[in-house]
């Protein structure tokens, strides 16, 4: 146990935690939105994220950009990758909804069944990249770790005076990007007409449909939005970590789901709070002990929070708590 290490670099560790947590939070949005509207844990969401990382790789490969390209090329390629990842992830999420969930909704199946088809879809997607695509196209698909060229190279931007904390460009992009996307989503759900539909269905599906809200469309919208956010997370992830792998989604998904519950599943701002808190808790724990205990700490924090606030930190649902 090394509390000195924690306190001597508290600002630094907190920043690390926020960086880590931002990505959790973005992925958590997908869980939380789907849960808010359908009361359903979308287990395939982690793979929606994974598809996004592969899409980024695909875009970079097709464009042929690599480290050291000009500023314009870097920005262009990154934006293109962002859009492609959002589209691919949203498309995957939508496909999962159409194939695995909609038929069940028509039959009014109990929630447990959705859980199993979600797990099934997750396996199918993982194996698609680990086995099926490799079989047809060979590498880079397969079970090995694949490098994604760091188009955007890490540079020190500025140093915060007083605390001697150096801020790099990737950090800024990740944290700012995540927060901007969440604000955008929050505004969309709260202000737009479509967003009102989402909140209405989340609050009371029956009344909403009586009021003329098309429930199917709302559900599709929720999957698309959640998927797109996972796509953003995928791009930020590749900027930070430079890799992808067929099963990369599993752990991120698990953490994001935990974050969503921690903040109060069904609550958009809860996802942000939960994600950041989880990221920070993990980094602190890894500093005090080592990373092997980070997951245990994350779950212990979750249990403790839920014992005092049984519906998560911000509690309530997408409908009730003004999103």
């Amino acid at each position: 146990m090394d509390f000195d290490a924690l306190f001597s670099g508290l600002d630094r560790h907190t920043l690390d935690g926020i960086t880590r947590g931002s990505i959790y939070a973005l992925v958590a949005l997908g869980y939380t939105m789907v849960y808010g509207v359908m009361k359903l844990i979308n287990f395939a969401h982690s793979e929606v994220f994974m598809v996004g990382t592969w899409t980024v790789l695909g875009v970079y490969t097709v464009l042929g950009v690599s480290a050291g390209a000009g500023l314009a090329a870097v920005i262009g390629a990154t934006l293109l990758a962002l859009i492609a990842a959002m589209l691919a992830s949203a498309g995957t999420a939508l496909a999962v909804e159409r194939i695995a969930y909609r038929p069940l909704r028509k039959k009014g199946a109990p929630p447990l069944i959705f859980l199993i088809t979600g797990i099934g879809c997750s396996m199918v997607l993982v194996e698609t990249f680990g086995q099926v695509l490799r079989f047809f196209f060979g590498p880079p698909f397969g079970r090995v770790t694949v490098n994604i060229p760091s188009v955007l190279q890490t540079r020190d931007l500025f140093t915060i005076p007083g605390v001697d904390l150096t801020i790099t460009n990737t950090r800024v992009i990740i944290i700012v990007g995540a927060i901007v996307m969440m604000l955008a989503l929050d505004t969309f759900v709260n202000k737009s007409r479509l967003g009102r539909g989402v909140r209405a269905v989340a609050q009371d599906p029956d009344t909403a449909s009586l009021m003329g809200v098309n429930q199917n469309r709302v559900i599709m919208l929720v999957f698309v939005l959640g998927g797109a956010m996972a796509g953003v997370a995928a791009l930020l992830y590749t900027i930070q970590y430079d890799i992808t792998k067929f099963d990369i989604g599993f752990i991120i998904g698990l953490k994001a789901f935990t974050a969503a519950v921690l903040g109060g599943i069904g609550n958009l701002r809860g996802a942000l709070v939960g994600g950041l808190l989880l990221g920070i808790a993990e980094v602190y724990a890894s500093t005090i002990w080592s990373s092997e205990w980070a997951n245990v700490t994350a779950f212990v924090v979750l249990v403790v929070v839920l014992m005092f606030r049984p519906t998560g930190l911000l509690g309530e649902s997408l409908g009730k708590a003004r999103a």
Partner: protein, 382 residues
């Protein structure tokens, strides 16, 4: 009446299903086929994680074995390689082992790929006298405790590797402050323990990480305050790649050294530019210049030979050499492998009484990642 006709329908369905199944069954059992040689018609089992998160560590060695079998020329014998996916899980490995043990046409087994499944199955193979040659199980206790005759391995165990790596760190790199990281798993942790032991005071700090982890910020900040002059990582490529990238991003330029879990032609591809100059320690001599192994492998499987691919090739070659030599029973196979000596791709192969490659046969080499390929740098003594 209606009822009885339904009964018939079910019976008919069952019969149809039975036929379908039987069709599957017969085609499978015929898999061995009639061979040209009457009494040299054998199977060699390969047991390891072919699917799941850890498959990337096993698949190259399986491909290597397949390549060896493909390149083998022998008119007399018909040998097939049967792959068994264990997902690295001992629970799935034991039924496989019992089956292989019970099927006399299996004359040897390459594996287990991981120490856990090997530990769970070696007594089964020992009971049936099936020779095992493992390409990648490095746990010390596999040959040092509860020895079984049939177990052999082509990789030296952690104790030796650890010592060699530590020597490289102190002697070659002249490091006096080494930061040791492991992946908390059965491969990385004991290896890092040995490195730590041998380093003694030359180790400044030890940190543990998780398999599947991608964010190493806490480890990086520990490194920043420890100011190491070298970093050792005991683990696999999937985690080494992001760790390296984040180290370099944070401006830590200390040399990075990994164990044989990172050794494979795909290392360079996975770590990207951040891995330039990273060193991988492997108990394997450089593959001879004139060897076409890498090219053949790439042609066959579309990718550069990954971790333990050469060991896989060697393991299969040992079995095939036994068949060339006229071994036709499990006893003969065991006898041959015990006494085998020969030049392998990875090292000079021979097995001591415990099933390990003798110390003096193993040469430890440091390979440097230059432009995406691992280039042999220097030989190290443990």
């Amino acid at each position: 009446m209606i009822r009885s006709s339904k009964t018939w329908q079910v019976a008919a369905m069952a019969a149809a299903a039975g036929l379908v199944l039987s069709a599957c069954g017969t085609t499978d059992t015929d898999g061995g086929g009639d061979a040209s040689g009457e009494d040299c018609n054998f199977k060699i089992g390969v047991m390891g994680a072919l699917s799941g998160a850890n498959a990337s560590i096993v698949l190259p060695s399986v491909d290597g074995a397949e390549l060896a079998l493909k390149q083998w020329e022998n008119d007399e014998c018909e040998v097939t390689m049967e792959k068994f996916d264990t997902e690295g899980d001992p629970a799935k490995a034991t039924p496989v082992a019992t089956q292989i043990a019970g099927d006399e046409t299996f004359i040897g087994v390459m594996g287990g790929a991981f120490s856990g499944e090997t530990r769970a199955t070696k007594s089964i193979y020992a009971d049936a006298g099936v020779t095992m040659v493992s390409q990648s199980a490095t746990a010390t206790d596999l040959t040092q405790e509860d020895q079984v005759d049939v177990f052999h391995r082509l990789v030296p165990y952690d104790d030796y590797q650890g010592a060699a790596i530590a020597n490289y760190l102190t002697d070659e790199l002249g490091a006096s402050k080494v930061f040791v990281v492991d992946n908390s798993e059965a491969y990385g942790e004991p290896l890092a323990d040995r490195v730590e032991e041998t380093l003694g005071n030359a180790m400044t700090q030890r940190d543990k990480t998780e398999v599947g982890q991608t964010d190493f910020a806490p480890t990086i900040s520990k490194m920043e305050s420890a100011q190491p002059d070298a970093v050792f990582y005991g683990g696999y490529i999937a985690e080494a790649a992001p760790l390296l990238k984040q180290m370099r991003d944070a401006g830590i330029d200390a040399p990075f050294v990994g164990g044989d879990g990172l050794y494979g032609a795909d290392f360079g591809n996975a770590v990207g530019p951040a891995g330039e100059g990273a060193v991988v320690m492997c108990p394997c001599a450089p593959i001879a210049e004139d060897s076409t192994f890498a090219a053949d492998f790439e042609e066959e499987f579309g990718a550069a030979p990954g971790a333990y691919a050469a060991e896989g090739y060697d393991a299969m070659s040992v079995f095939l050499a036994a068949l060339d030599d006229g071994a036709r029973t499990r006893e003969e196979m065991e006898e041959f492998v015990d006494g085998y000596t020969g030049e392998g791709l990875s090292k000079e192969i021979a097995f001591d009484e415990n099933g390990d490659v003798p110390k003096e046969n193993v040469s430890y080499w440091a390979y440097k990642n230059e432009g995406g390929t691992l280039v042999p740098e220097v030989e190290v003594k443990p």
